[in-house]
């Protein structure tokens, strides 16, 4: 229904454009496609906050329609195409699973600019943008190793895509830098958005003995379970402190707003180019939620690591690192190439899970 309302609104806006004349038509449309609901408390909400900031900054010059709850898969292509046809000048598709659909639609509409979040396929009118979430995951891993009494953390994962695998590896690397024997249990929920299933996964991990949770799914349900069971947890994509005031250690907060404003300005100036952008903590595309529920020394350590990552002194994926099977991946001092990270399809040593193929 939401989608229908938005589609109607979009077409009404188009018709309105004809009747009210040039003034309304001058506003360019910057459109957004969301995989979840804009108020999911996590991933999509973070994108929508970015959209709202864009609206506030450039609202006089652009409109920002959006479609939410667009499933990954064949439906995505239809939704993106409908957006493109409704007169968008720039379309942001904000989930990894929209990659191939975005590529297809972008090829059909060469005059429209597309930007796909977290993917790796670009084109002349298709840029990609991503955030170095793994920098935050590394900090989380270090905190987990300091705070866990049992030395085991639980990781609620969504789908075995490079983005998620990279996060798991970074977390384990961070934890191992503090406690070489730190263990990580991974549960694949095989969904981005299902509060019930995410809660079930959290309960399963806790019942199996982990005392710290981290998640790569979109809702606050795992945080809520952690709070109920009295263990500690990390938030994902948005600050989830409201769901666990005594539970959340920190959260990786996605702050896309500045990026959306920058790219929309480029569109308006005519300087928009297809790029593959991968910004990190230092660029402000992700920030760490306040370090809470931990002693001062752990907080100081986390802040120091964050500062080192920002200054470039520390790259989480710096050798020596072995792959899960013990074969060498990075030699001492060697830093991982971005290309390898973006296509990451293997675990590093210390992760117990076997990667689903």
């Amino acid at each position: 229904m939401k989608k229908l309302i938005i589609a109607l609104a979009a077409s009404a806006a188009l018709m309105g454009g004809f009747s009210t004349g040039a003034e309304a038509q001058e506003k360019k449309k910057v459109c957004f496609i969301y995989v979840g609901s804009k108020t999911d408390g996590g991933w999509t909400q973070a994108h929508d906050l970015g959209r709202q900031q864009l609206d506030k900054a450039l609202g006089a010059k652009v409109e920002t329609p959006f479609l939410e709850n667009v499933p990954e898969g064949p439906d995505a292509e239809r939704a993106i195409e409908r957006m493109a046809r409704s007169g968008c000048s720039l379309v942001f598709t904000t989930s990894f699973g929209f990659m191939d659909a975005t590529v297809k639609v972008a090829a059909k509409f060469p005059d429209i600019k597309f930007e796909h979040a977290t993917g790796f396929k670009a084109g002349p009118n298709l840029a990609t943008y991503n955030s170095r979430f793994y920098e935050g995951r590394y900090i989380q891993g270090q905190i987990a190793a300091k705070m866990s009494k049992k030395g085991v953390a639980g990781y609620i994962a969504s789908f075995p895509i490079p983005e998620v695998v990279m996060g798991i590896n970074a977390f384990e690397l961070g934890a191992k830098s503090i406690n070489p024997n730190f263990k990580l249990k991974v549960v694949w929920a095989n969904t981005w958005f299902d509060p019930g299933k995410e809660a079930d996964a959290a309960k399963a991990l806790i019942d199996q003995g982990v005392d710290i949770l981290t998640q790569h799914t979109d809702t606050t349900a795992p945080m809520q379970v952690a709070a109920e069971r009295g263990i500690l947890a990390f938030g994902q994509a948005s600050d989830m402190i409201a769901a666990g005031p005594k539970t959340q250690l920190t959260a990786i907060v996605d702050t896309w707003g500045a990026y959306y404003i920058k790219r929309t300005k480029a569109l308006l100036d005519g300087t928009w180019k297809s790029e593959q952008i991968w910004d990190g903590l230092k660029d402000g595309i992700l920030t760490m939620a306040p370090y809470t529920n931990m002693p001062d020394d752990v907080k100081a350590m986390a802040e120091e690591t964050e500062a080192k990552i920002k200054s470039g002194e520390l790259h989480p994926f710096t050798g020596p690192i072995n792959k899960q099977d013990g074969t060498a991946w990075l030699a001492a001092g060697e830093k991982a190439q971005d290309g390898v990270l973006l296509g990451m399809n293997f675990y590093i040593e210390g992760v117990d899970d076997k990667l689903p193929k």
Partner: protein
């Protein structure tokens, strides 16, 4: 450990059982309402909002039941009074429910919810294992079990239940016998809506006490499948719902155990297990065509226009 797993299974299975039971009664009256997902999410939104406003999860439960029931009236009016196509109307109800619930709950997103607390029976709750599993549950769980027993009695032991089944098998004959087909179907549809609403209330008050749009995440569809799976029998709905819940929770634990043991089991395979198990059981059940035919309401989905 086993106890903890069982508790999780109960929480995961209860909404499926509730929504499927309601749909079973609706379908037994010959009406196919595919809007379970929509009624469930409306129930979840109403329950959460009412609980937040009043501070009482019990008022939340009532609001969930009421919301689902009233919402199903829309389906009843369209399909029973206006004789619209049931399949199309049911699908529309789901889409409308998902959108409308978003509006209802919009101001309540991100608020920490009020969890419905379990009822503690003196002495009984202290029995090891059984006490914790059976006598320290929330009201909605007890209602779900009572409904299984009650609906089974109603359908197969009571006169009204017999009439309801007669309508579901042949509305024309029932009508000729002087049974009010439309009124009974309205009541059956509303009962289905109320049960789906209660299932929704369980989601937003027990399972994950919060409101997020779309939080039913397809459970209404699973409930619909359960009705067929159970070949329109209440006890089989209980069994099927718990089987589905158990396989779903079991696969999460299996993932962790496999990691501890260093075994490789693809998680996608494990995630598909509940559905695969459903298909296998369906094949076994439908092996005997005769019993399947006996249980299937013969007039299911067919419109009825009384001659005047």
């Amino acid at each position: 450990m086993f106890e903890a797993i069982l508790l999780t299974v109960i929480t995961a299975s209860t909404p499926l059982v509730l929504a499927a039971l309601g749909e079973l009664v609706t379908e037994r009256s010959g009406v196919l309402n595919l809007g379970v997902e929509g009624m469930m999410i409306i129930g979840a939104a109403c329950a959460f909002v009412a609980a937040q406003l009043t501070g009482s999860p019990y008022i939340g439960i009532l609001a969930g039941i009421f919301g689902g029931g009233v919402f199903s009236l829309l389906f009843g009016f369209l399909t029973l009074t206006l004789v619209a196509n049931q399949v199309a109307t049911g699908l529309a109800l789901t889409i409308l429910g998902l959108g409308l619930s978003g509006q209802i709950g919009e101001a309540f997103v991100g608020q920490p919810g009020i969890k419905l607390q379990p009822i503690v029976f003196p002495f009984l709750s202290d029995i090891p294992f059984f006490g914790r599993v059976l006598f320290r549950q929330d009201l909605i769980f007890y209602v779900s079990i009572a409904l299984v027993v009650g609906i089974n009695w109603f359908l197969f032991r009571s006169r009204t239940g017999l009439k309801l089944r007669a309508i579901g098998d042949s509305h024309a004959s029932a009508h000729a016998l002087g049974i009010n087909v439309i009124r009974t179907r309205y009541l059956a549809v509303m009962f289905g809506g109320a049960c789906a609403g209660l299932a929704g209330a369980q989601l937003s008050l027990v399972y994950t006490p919060q409101w997020v749009e779309n939080m039913s995440a397809g459970r209404g569809w699973i409930a619909l499948a359960l009705v067929v799976f159970a070949s329109w029998r209440p006890w089989r709905i209980l069994a099927g719902g718990y089987l589905f819940g158990a396989v779903g929770i079991g696969q999460l634990h299996a993932q962790i155990v496999a990691q501890n043991l260093g075994i490789v089991i693809p998680s996608q395979f494990l995630s598909a297990l509940p559905y695969a198990a459903t298909i296998v059981v369906l094949i076994i059940i439908s092996h005997n065509r005769r019993t399947t035919l006996i249980n299937t309401p013969a007039a299911l989905g067919k419109p009825f226009v009384p001659d005047r």
